[in-house]
């Protein structure tokens, strides 16, 4: 903040856009003192959120999540693996988060974004510790074959709160997931049974007739907030994240239990009251997100 104090006087003569670029912090603080943000949101309000399921035809489950203009495309592909000897009745999940160069001006081809592996790790930690997925449901033949669910999330447009959007697209993709019907052949390999001759001639016994959908218990949802002085800004845009650096991400599950609380450093120290406020904001947001997910799912069933 080594900026001259003269900016206060300049601001009256300067165009808004120039002021925003030259003195971004002052620009934001002026808005914050009026309890409003530059995109006309109150401080605690998240951006409009939409979900679309089944966006990728070649995947077994997929979802497109949009929070404001942050866009995430998640797709799940199921492959077969031999389960480990320690857990013969469990399948596995591999989560990868990608930031291709199309998503943001700071990502260049050949140089992956620094944030991508960190978000990837956070997502797999969150999804595994929330207990949303029972890995036993991914088992096919005990000790011989189990599903490996490859979940790949692509960020198509990066405009802040990447983790929130990525987690939303991930849980939506899992709730859209339709596991293919397979059988075990003589060589001990798993083969697909095509949908058409389902029931017509069952010369081969499917091994997973019952288990086409995963039962998702306690779905995790998250909200990222920016702490700046005494203000708490929910669901920040990329511009807000670059100017005010202290972010807090709270993950709660659908019954409002804390899954994870994440504050990776940052210049603002979180007091207990700020932490409680963030959790309270997340609690509201979880309800919103749960509704959006439920509506999208029921919309799918009607079709």
């Amino acid at each position: 903040m080594g900026l001259p104090d003269a900016s206060g006087d300049l601001s009256s003569e300067m165009e808004v856009d120039a002021f925003r670029r030259l003195f971004p912090l002052r620009y934001f603080e002026r808005h914050l003192s009026e309890s409003i943000r530059p995109d006309a949101r109150p401080l605690g309000r998240a951006r409009d959120t939409t979900l679309a399921l089944g966006a990728v035809a070649s995947a077994h489950g997929s979802a497109l999540a949009k929070i404001g203009s942050t866009t995430m495309l998640a797709a799940i592909k199921m492959e077969v693996m031999t389960p480990s000897t320690e857990s013969p009745d469990e399948g596995s999940i591999a989560i990868d988060f990608h930031m291709p160069p199309i998503c943001s001006p700071i990502v260049r081809p050949g140089r992956p974004a620094e944030a991508a592996p960190v978000i990837s790790k956070q997502l797999s930690d969150t999804i595994s510790s929330s207990g949303m997925i029972n890995l036993k449901e991914l088992s096919l033949v005990s000790g011989k074959a189990a599903w490996m669910a490859y979940l790949d999330i692509y960020c198509l447009d990066a405009d802040g709160a990447l983790f929130d959007a990525a987690l939303l697209s991930a849980v939506a993709a899992f709730s859209h997931l339709q596991i293919p019907i397979v059988s075990l052949n003589d060589d001990g390999k798993i083969e697909l049974i095509s949908e058409e001759d389902d029931g017509a001639k069952l010369e081969v016994e499917p091994v997973n007739k019952e288990k086409r959908k995963l039962t998702l218990s306690s779905i995790p949802f998250s909200l990222t907030c920016i702490l700046h002085k005494n203000y708490i800004l929910a669901d920040p845009t990329a511009e807000e994240e670059s100017i005010m650096e202290t972010a807090v991400t709270v993950v709660l599950d659908s019954s409002s239990r804390l899954v994870s609380f994440y504050k990776p450093g940052g210049p603002v120290l979180a007091h207990t009251s700020a932490v409680q406020d963030c959790v309270a904001l997340t609690r509201q947001r979880v309800k919103e997100l749960q509704n959006i997910l439920d509506e999208t799912l029921s919309g799918m069933e009607i079709d």
């Binding site: 035809a57 790949d152 692509y154 447009d157 059988s183 083969e191 697909l192």
Partner: protein, 257 residues
């Protein structure tokens, strides 16, 4: 913990129990075979374009041709990253990559070097590079789903994204490919048809100027077939151009309202 430590177990995609008993794709004597999606030989897939798909980019476009879905973002003109010598004309930098779920079998989601350079060659003739000296325009494409004829779709989509970014061009660039299957020419082939083709041709052109920016021919062709295919492509390009222009007009009128 879902995250497996160390080496990931090897996995495979389950294959169908029996090979789908599709009658041989076509035979030379048979002229009346149908294309898998029921199109006529000289009929393109319905094309859908939309500009402004990515807000954080200077310009962007999304294109969907059947199952082929691509997004192209344009950044710049901005400072050249590779410290190059002073240049009077701007630089164009292109990159095409695939998602891991683009193809039916899960891939690695890698960059496609060949397509990147083809995209560069198809576009550089259409862009007025002298309007942004010393700087670089980046054109990045991501193929979300590959359904055949990926490159022509990427090129058409990229020219729309450039227009959306306000980069000066002589004309839009439309790309169309034709596959030669035995005695038949089929336009805008899907993935399955591409795997059976004897030869393929791709033309990218600037339809209003009637100039070709790129022409690639692979495989086995006769001269008569080549001429016929070229005419087919050029006709399809001018039709595609109308759709692309309509998309730009729509975006422009929407922003005026």
């Amino acid at each position: 913990m879902a995250a497996q430590g160390g080496a990931a177990p090897s996995t495979y995609t389950p294959t169908p129990t029996k090979k789908t008993q599709r009658s041989p794709f076509f035979s030379d004597s048979d002229v009346d075979w149908l294309r898998p999606d029921g199109r006529g030989f000289h009929q393109c897939r319905p094309a859908f374009f939309r500009t402004g798909a990515v807000n954080s980019a200077a310009g962007s476009a999304y294109a969907e041709f059947g199952n082929t879905k691509v997004i192209v973002s344009v950044f710049g003109p901005r400072e050249s990253k590779k410290a190059m010598v002073y240049s009077d004309v701007g630089r164009l930098n292109c990159n095409v990559s695939y998602t891991t779920f683009a193809n039916p079998a899960r891939g690695l989601g890698s960059d496609n070097k060949e397509f990147s350079s083809m995209l560069h060659k198809a576009l550089e003739g259409a862009i007025m590079l002298e309007t942004f000296p010393k700087t670089t325009v980046d054109v990045f494409a991501l193929v979300l789903e590959s359904g055949g004829s990926d490159l022509p779709v990427v090129i058409s989509c990229a020219s729309l994204a450039l227009a959306d970014a306000g980069i000066m061009m002589y004309d839009l660039v439309a790309g169309v490919s034709v596959s030669c299957l035995g005695r038949n020419l089929i336009i805008d082939p899907i993935l399955e048809e591409e795997s059976f083709q004897d030869g393929s041709m791709m033309i990218t052109c600037m339809p209003s100027r009637y100039e070709v920016t790129q022409l690639t021919i692979t495989g086995e062709w006769s001269t008569a077939k080549l001429n016929e295919a070229m005419q087919l492509c050029l006709d399809a390009c001018s039709k595609l151009d109308k759709i692309m222009r309509a998309c730009l007009e729509e975006a422009a009128s929407a922003s005026q309202d």
